[in-house]
């Protein structure tokens, strides 16, 4: 272990990465300046025993056995159940709302209006009123007894049929000319190969296993809320603000989210359901639970917006991209104003360093519920279009798709990943294997890149983590931030165990309670990179205090004491961990670590890189696509918990295949209502559809913090749909430019080829 850094000392560390397989190492020395009092940096040469190891998820057994209690599991004495009345119309005005009949029904404890008479109704599912009662059956009966009248206006739920939508031809290509771009068109005119096409994706719903919702209990002035959320502190502030009128102050609100069954970007706020729950509990003077049902999940709790993008571009004779023009549209519901509704579509920029480029994006409205951020917002849509476009361009130019990437990708790290991944996947052989012309099943392989940039941040004011060492030898680490399933508890436990030189089983990690130190909302893949250095700092401070006790006991200098292999002491005199902890008094060592800002200067790599390869088999008789195998090569800075990190990547691949082949919201134009708002008809990849998945993580030392993890939740979600779509193109010899790639579209593509 490196010695603690003195104040303002520059420390020389080794950054970069060791090559995967036969790839070259890219390591270099760098001077960094840790903040005063921070733990010293771990770098490429630090021997780590726990961090990066193949540990199980610390709460895996609790989750699998049902001991872990999610918001939907919370049960309190006298708990009431609640549900929301939803608007059946897509557009109009609420003109009458009569709640008294519902209030008078047996078993009903409270009824609250969520919309005032005269307010606008914006989509089917807009919240009108909420009811709490003894059980959900009675609550539903009461909802049916509420009289709500509407002034109905004509609606449009198809975002590509609105006034400002671009004109599409019969093949789905944008039929409007490109706005003039002199330099770009000049480059296109010089290109050896050019191509242009339109790509489209459908609305994907978040489909978290645990629905949105809350349980709320008032005790006097205090409000305690269990919320299925990605942002405990955000929810706390939001509720305090909304309930200010009831004399509530932030400090009196406790939010619990000890276990969260997924969020994917849809659970940053308390939502109308969370607020309704608190209002009902207040009115009923009893605890209330309000969880959305699956239809409400699909129709009111956010989604990944639909996208339409058109690309044109050109290659020079050497296969270099010299022109690249993108215009895109996002379909993200009623809240689009002045073209902005969060539907932005991102495309890769590392292929086009030498190209003339242009980008334009417009969001288009429809009378549907608003989009929310979803795992790498805008990226899977845009990467699908851009990577498939590149494959089509490569095909025209007679260049192998991998070769095209290698000629144009400006990121060294991904260059290494492409080469390593292609070798491991067997790209060249798989790509060269022909399909018999009359074969029923055609195979194909494809690939796509990924990028993300998230090295975490300190937070303002800085995030903290609490660490306690008890005299029985147990260690407690606590963050008020939430573990949405990505593994924060495991990350906290492993880093503390590493710093303290003990078995991770001695460490208990607690998350998701606002009584504990504040942490970030879990968005943008920030949680692990932001909190890893904070827990490290907490354990580092606790270790110093323990060293003080041991030094006194041994009559040694505290600076000579270290913790390793379950012992504490000097080079010559060592105590077993349990013995050392007995020196602690009845009060535990109790310290709070903080997240210091990232080191100044440039990190080794500011972006996380990855690439994925996929092999598919297409049944040309039925149009069904099956993914046979996939490989992801992915960096995520310092790998903390290997198994959990791999599981993020595998999960992203599965979600990506599901997006590429199955998932889509289907709206009934006439009623404005979603037709497939359940898991029977909203199709999600199932267990029998899971291909052989391979994942290789690449540890990269970016030298940006003491404990340099990088965000991983989102990057692998960027490449997966594109990898599947490019493989389908290879299998068919004809692209399917509209996700999901369902049998009807495959058969249409085959008919075009014939």
């Amino acid at each position: 272990m490196t010695a603690p850094a003195g104040p303002r000392d520059g420390v020389e560390i080794t950054v970069g990465y060791r090559g995967l397989g036969g790839m070259p190492d890219r390591l270099e020395a760098r001077a960094v300046e840790p903040a005063e009092g921070d733990a010293p940096p771990w770098d490429a040469n630090t021997p780590l025993r726990q961090v990066g190891g193949d540990h199980d998820r610390v709460d895996g057994l609790a989750k699998a056995s049902g001991r872990a209690k999610y918001t939907s599991d919370v049960n309190l004495p006298g708990l009431l159940q609640a549900a929301i009345l939803r608007a059946p119309i897509a557009r109009g005005k609420l003109v009458q709302l009569e709640l008294d009949a519902a209030r008078a029904m047996p078993g009903i404890a409270a009824v609250v209006a969520l919309k005032n008479v005269g307010s606008r109704v914006r989509f089917v599912g807009d919240a009108i009123a909420a009811v709490a009662g003894a059980d959900l059956h009675r609550v539903r009966d009461a909802l049916a007894a509420i009289r709500a009248d509407y002034e109905v206006e004509p609606h449009n739920v198809d975002w590509l049929r609105g006034e400002d939508a671009p004109l599409l031809d019969a093949d789905g290509e944008i039929a409007e000319p490109w706005p003039e771009a002199v330099a770009l068109e000049g480059a296109l005119a010089l290109a050896a190969t050019t191509h242009g096409a339109t790509y489209r994706t459908e609305v994907q719903t978040h489909s978290s296993l645990e629905p949105h919702g809350a349980t709320a209990r008032w005790q006097g002035e205090d409000l305690e809320v269990w919320s299925s959320t990605q942002a405990t502190f955000g929810v706390r502030g939001e509720l305090a603000q909304a309930l200010k009128g009831r004399g509530l102050r932030v400090g009196a609100v406790t939010v619990h989210a000890e276990y969260v069954g997924g969020g994917f970007g849809s659970k940053f706020g308390a939502g109308v359901e969370g607020l309704a729950c608190c209002l009902l509990a207040h009115a009923a003077k009893a605890p209330v639970k309000l969880m959305l049902d699956r239809f409400e999940e699909h129709t009111t709790a956010g989604n990944r917006p639909a996208a339409l993008l058109q690309l044109r571009g050109g290659l020079d004779a050497e296969g270099r991209l010299i022109a690249w023009d993108v215009r895109s549209y996002g379909g993200c519901g009623f809240n689009v104003e002045r073209g902005d509704g969060g539907g932005n579509v991102a495309v890769p920029d590392y292929y086009t360093r030498a190209a003339k480029t242009r980008r334009k994006h417009t969001d288009l409205p429809a009378d549907t519920d608003p989009a929310r951020a979803m795992r790498a917002p805008g990226h899977p849509q845009g990467w699908f279009g851009a990577e498939l476009f590149l494959d089509e361009l490569a095909h025209k130019a007679g260049i192998d798709p991998l070769e095209l990437r290698l000629r144009n990708d400006s990121q060294t790290m991904r260059q290494d990943q492409w080469r390593f991944g292609a070798e491991r996947f067997g790209w060249a052989a798989a790509r060269a294997r022909p399909n018999a012309p009359d074969a029923r099943f055609r195979r194909g392989v494809g690939l796509a890149s990924a990028r993300w940039s998230q090295l975490g941040s300190a937070g303002r004011p800085p995030h903290g983590v609490q660490c306690r060492i008890h005299r029985d030898g147990s260690v407690e680490v606590r963050s008020g931030a939430q573990d949405i399933g990505t593994g924060l508890k495991t990350v906290l436990a492993l880093i503390a165990a590493e710093e303290l030189g003990i078995d991770p089983k001695l460490v208990q990690a607690f998350t998701g309670h606002t009584g504990d130190p504040s942490g970030p909302g879990s968005g943008g893949s920030t949680t692990t990179p932001s909190l890893s250095p904070a827990v490290r700092h907490a354990a580092f401070l606790a270790r110093q205090q323990l060293a003080g006790f041991v030094a006194t006991h041994l009559g040694a200098d505290a600076a000579e004491i270290d913790c390793r292999d379950g012992t504490v002491g000097t080079r010559t005199q060592r105590l077993a961990w349990a013995e050392a902890c007995k020196l602690i008094g009845p009060n535990p060592i109790d310290v709070r670590g903080q997240r210091f800002p990232n080191y100044g200067g440039k990190p080794f790599s500011a972006s996380v890189c990855g690439c994925q390869f996929a092999e598919v088999e297409v049944d040309t008789w039925t149009g069904q696509v099956r993914v046979l195998r996939m490989l992801a090569v992915q960096d995520c800075g310092l790998v903390i918990a290997k198994k959990l990190a791999e599981s993020q990547v595998l999960g992203a691949m599965l979600q990506g295949i599901s997006f590429a082949l199955h998932e889509q919201r289907i709206m009934d134009r006439q009623s404005g209502r979603m037709l497939n708002g359940d898991f029977l008809r909203y199709k999600i990849l199932g267990s029998a559809d899971v291909p052989e998945l391979d994942c290789v993580l690449m540890t990269v030392h970016n030298g940006h913090s003491s404990t340099p993890a990088a965000g991983l939740g989102e990057p692998p979600a960027v490449a997966a749909p594109a990898a599947v779509a490019t493989a389908v193109f290879h299998a068919l010899g004809e692209p399917v430019r509209h996700l999901p790639i369902t049998p009807d579209k495959v058969l249409a593509a085959l008919a075009r080829r014939a």
Binding site: P88, H137, W621, T622, G623, Q624, R626, L661, H662, I666, M667, D668, R669, Q670, S671, R673, L675, N676, L680, R681, K683, L685, G686, S687, A688, D689, T742, P743, D744, L747, A748
Partner: protein, 326 residues
């Protein structure tokens, strides 16, 4: 859900009496029925569970004449693995059961419930819509709405499809069904269970109110009979067929002596196709099967979004025929 009385009969005559009470429904595994009750599409005053009658109405057995009796309460999981079905002649029935839904559902779903389940049309099965089905509204909403999974043939004013996996192979095998009503037992051809003119207003099956299906009977099969079942879907797990086909062929010295082709999931009822006759006296060949597949869809009138089902359905007929004659 509306409150209802739950009746657990001790024997068939109690069930028979209970089933004839007004506003009463029968429940097998309950997968389909309870779904519809939760959606408030059906709000009966009484639910009679048949599950206590497993001893009488369950099980699978070979009968004296060599035929196979499937108790109405036999589960799909039992069909999948029962030795009485382990013959090439009944392979199609086994395959149809094994490809249904998921293992959990197959452990619960009963043979009678599977044949009698309601359509999965997303307009029919939502309380938010008022369509012609069951007389809830004036017109079929799928014709002008989203009909990607709907009927391509055999429909009149309602374009729902019949979703049962078991119906096509049982029809192909010329199965019969036994019912009890008012103490009387009747045995009829399975084809009679489904309406000949499947309109929106008409019930999905021809049973009288309170009539209990007690068993299905698969007649004895010649040694050279073969059946197979094929279906198209969008994914491997937990999905409904977009088209399905069961075939039965009897080969004599390499020549097709008898043949039946029954389509599922393309019409409001499972649909035997006369095109099977084209195979009589012929030797199996890819060209012949293609011809039969094309002919099986003559008269198809796909809707605005489901033309693909005709292409896919033909492929599925071919696949079923190839597998049965392999």
């Amino acid at each position: 859900m509306q409150p209802f009385t739950y009746v657990l009969p001790e024997n068939l005559s109690q069930a028979d009496a209970a089933a004839r009470q007004p506003d009463t429904v029968l429940k097998g595994g309950g997968i389909d029925l309870v779904d519809r009750m939760k959606e408030r599409l059906q709000t009966p005053a009484r639910v009679v569970s048949l599950l206590p009658l497993r001893a009488e109405l369950g099980g699978i057995a070979v009968e004296a004449d060599g035929g196979v009796r499937l108790g109405a309460l036999a589960t799909l999981a039992e069909l999948e693995r029962h030795p009485a079905l382990a013959t090439p002649a009944l392979a199609g029935l086994r395959e149809a059961a094994a490809s249904t839904a998921s293992p959990q559902l197959r452990n619960r779903a009963t043979v009678a419930g599977n044949l009698l389940q309601f359509t999965r049309c997303w307009y029919v099965r939502s309380e938010a819509f008022r369509c012609v089905h069951g007389g809830r509204g004036p017109t079929c909403l799928a014709v002008t709405g989203d009909n990607r999974y709907h009927a391509v043939m055999g429909y009149s004013d309602c374009v729902r499809v019949h979703p049962s996996n078991l119906a096509p192979p049982l029809l192909a095998l010329d199965a019969e069904y036994t019912t009890v009503l008012e103490g009387k037992t009747r045995r009829r051809k399975l084809a009679e269970l489904f309406p000949s003119d499947p309109r929106g207003q008409a019930p999905e099956h021809t049973l009288a109110a309170g009539e209990i299906v007690t068993a299905l009977h698969v007649p004895p099969q010649p040694a050279s009979a073969r059946t197979s079942y094929a279906e198209s879907r969008e994914k491997q797990s937990f999905d409904w067929a977009t088209t399905a086909c069961a075939v039965r062929v009897v080969l004599d010295g390499g020549v097709i002596e008898a043949a039946t082709v029954v389509l599922g999931a393309v019409a409001p009822v499972p649909l035997p196709r006369p095109a099977a006759r084209l195979m009589l006296g012929q030797k199996p060949s890819a060209a012949l099967f293609q011809k039969v597949a094309d002919a099986a869809f003559t008269g198809a009138l796909p809707l605005s979004q489901n033309g693909y089902k005709v292409t896919v359905g033909k492929a599925i007929v071919r696949e079923a025929l190839e597998r049965a004659t392999r």
